[in-house]
Amino acid sequence: MGDSQYSFSLTTFSPSGKLVQIEHALTAVGSGQTSLGIKAANGVVIATEKKLPSILVDETSVQKIQILTPNIGVVYSGMGPDFRVLVRKSRKQAEQYHRLYKEPIPVTQLVRETAAVMQEFTQSGGVRPFGVSLLVAGYDDKGPQLYQVDPSGSYFSWKASAMGKNVSNAKTFLEKRYTDDMELDDAVHTAILTLKEGFEGQISGKNIEIGIIGADKKFRVLTSAEIDDYLAEVE
């Protein structure tokens, strides 16, 4: 169906051995709003800017950090609608695992399956890769974990990572500030400071989002009042 020009996969190899569409997808991610994650000794924190296009937008209706299972949360940089599709698929995969094994899905398994979905879209006809990179934060039997998943479908485990607009500054900042024995509260402070580095305008509980998971293995998104408290501690 359709023109013969479009009957091959958009992800055909270029002569230099790259998949050009994936490169462009990564560019889309790189121009998205900054997001970052930090793995502490007793938990994980993920955070993102929440810059809305106009002051008329109801910011309570926008939630960029999403929960995948009670003990796994995710944030993104890139295209919001693509993120929603991935969240939906991942939640379904997690529930299917639970239905079969009556056990919560381990973080590595969910990341692997989500990455497999993203890879499928780099090798099928008539589709384009997802324009998002994900940061998955979870706490299971193996302890706190933080994974980044790229549009190509590759995934990495990180102690701390950033994505989006301000990625190089943010990563440099994190490299300096990160310690292996950080507690969750310290990690939240560090995350806020990192976001502050590249923030245009006044940072507040209304224009950033933070999600944490601690040893209680329950992922939750902080309310804007809680974020304001952390901000006050950081000042």
Partner: protein, 204 residues
């Protein structure tokens, strides 16, 4: 004759103190004819997980092969052994998949959880799980087995005493069932070792 009684079988799993025992008879028959006296009904999936399958032997073998396949892939993907509770959920799901054309088997699953607590369960041929704290039985001799186990069971038995108890319950029950018997095969599993023993009973 019911399809579940075509080959004949007897299975017990019993809980002891930080250990469990799982035992089966050794007869394989085709209705009234005995064709093997060394048939294996209990399979080891890993050092802390055993399953016995009673009922139609061909379905038992196929089900075992499917489960080994699933378990091996699980071990490769998740880089760990399956917990007994997880395995029981998997068996239940696989059996229910065939709800309207079932495997004619009744599994008995026994294992040690991560905290070395013994776990036993059985289910019917379409996957209805029955978790028990003391013992579970299956097979053509199940009625006798229930009675024998109920009579001799004590909580918190040490491995040696558990072995004696299960052996007695198994041998006396299969003696009352013409389709099962020809000795016994019993595994007593503790966190540190697996003891496998063959029992000699009435060889008929």
């Amino acid at each position: 004759m019911s399809i579940f009684e075509y080959n004949g079988s007897a299975l017990i799993a019993m809980v002891g103190k930080n250990c469990f025992a799982i035992a089966s008879d050794r007869r394989l028959g085709v209705q009234l004819q005995t064709i093997a006296t060394d048939f294996q009904r209990i399979y080891k999936f890993h050092d802390r997980l055993f399953m016995g399958l009673s009922g139609l032997a061909t379905d038992a073998q196929t089900l075992y092969q499917r489960l080994v396949f699933r378990h091996k892939l699980y071990q490769l993907r998740e880089e760990r052994d399956m917990k007994p509770e997880t395995f029981a959920s998997l068996v239940s799901a696989l059996l229910y998949e065939k709800r309207f054309g079932p495997y004619f088997c009744q599994p008995v699953i026994a294992g040690l959880s991560d905290e070395n607590k013994p776990f036993i369960c059985t289910m019917d041929s379409i996957g209805a799980k029955e978790l028990a704290k003391d013992f579970v039985v299956a097979g053509t001799a199940s009625e006798s087995l229930y009675g024998a186990c109920e009579a001799v069971f004590k909580p918190d038995m040490e491995p040696e005493e558990l072995f004696e108890t299960v052996s007695q319950a198994l041998l006396s029950s299969v003696d009352r069932d013409c389709l099962s018997g020809w000795g016994g095969h019993i595994y007593v599993v503790t966190p540190t070792e697996i003891k496998e023993r063959i029992l000699k009973g009435r060889m008929d």
